[in-house]
Subunit: 199 residues, 2 copies
């Protein structure tokens, strides 16, 4: 299982953290070269253009997200717990500053100036995340686990929007705790109190 971190992986990881910090136009090949300890031109060997790099990066991010959702479907049966785990994942990422922002959420804010190929990947993530949340909420409602005020789809969009907004607020305030302040009540509201299980 030796995953010995290839250069190309290093480049992707570095680019990811740079994008999390400042978006598509917030970093350059020179920045990556400095961090990875390689020459600028060598990056072009792995990723001919910046668009190639970022498209690959977002595609991989999407795969990971997709895998994460699939994993929650397999490992966790309770819909409320699935949402708690999803929110909890980000809570940790933000708290330890390891990846304090969803790169697709960040890139979406720059969508109008994004290369089209990158934009397509970003939009696809929104659709896929929304679809999963919708299915979780729909199942939770069917099981009587959730008390929805609108359609599962509408609640899913609201949930996603609130999580993204909470990331933004945590960044604006420079305070990771604000993420939980916003998302915790979101989960509490979905499930009737009598059915709550503290994890």
């Amino acid at each position: 299982m030796g995953n010995v971190s290839t250069t190309s992986d290093d480049i992707l990881a570095c680019a990811r953290s740079l994008i999390v910090a400042g978006g598509y136009n917030g970093f350059s090949y020179a920045d990556i070269a400095d961090v990875v300890g390689i020459r600028k031109a060598s990056i072009h060997h792995h990723f001919p253009s910046k668009v190639d790099l970022v498209r690959t990066l977002v595609a991989r991010y999407r795969e990971e997200a997709e895998a994460g959702m699939a994993n929650l479907e397999l490992q966790v049966s309770d819909p409320l717990e699935q949402l708690q785990d999803y929110a909890g994942y980000w809570e940790v990422c933000i708290a330890d500053a390891s990846a304090p922002f969803c790169i697709c959420a960040l890139l979406a804010s720059e969508l109008p100036v994004l290369p089209e190929e990158v934009g397509l990947e970003v939009r696809a993530h929104f659709r896929s995340l929304s679809a999963w949340l919708t299915s979780v909420l729909e199942r939770g409602a069917r099981l009587g686990r959730f008390q929805l005020m609108g359609t599962p789809r509408a609640e899913a969009e609201a949930f996603m929007a609130t999580v993204h907004g909470a990331m933004l607020s945590a960044r604006a305030y420079g305070d990771p705790k604000i993420f939980a302040v916003v998302t915790r009540p979101l989960l509490e509201r979905l499930a009737p109190r009598s059915l709550q299980i503290q994890s």
Copy 2:
């Protein structure tokens, strides 16, 4: 009252729409020069540096926002209506694509790479908006107009985050309607149904 649009105002207006589209690093003096019909160097006469330009821009934006909140305090007595008007303002901006994003929300996403002076203005907007929303929710709760599940502060943060996230989703889906889909139920949930007034 003849506000005959000075060049400096044109520059600010142009920069604003460029920032709305792509953030701080998403535009250049050359872009502004093209649109305003002026030479690059002439922009430096009005705003010596890019930081000056954007700081001024955000400061003015904050003044407008502050004025908008003050106006809602004067013109609208009902707390629910105040929030409806606030959300409705953005609903229109997004629908007609005149300014489909709050520049402070957008800039906040790039905070780590923003010049410090700009970052300070952006953070200040978050604090001021949050404070106003808190006061509205607090008053609404006192008047029995709102049924809050958490503290006014926590509900205010959740409200703000959801509005920001809804802007992001509207952009990601390329569909203005999603903003209302997310924010309308947000308002409906705050006020007990018996007290709702359809505007």
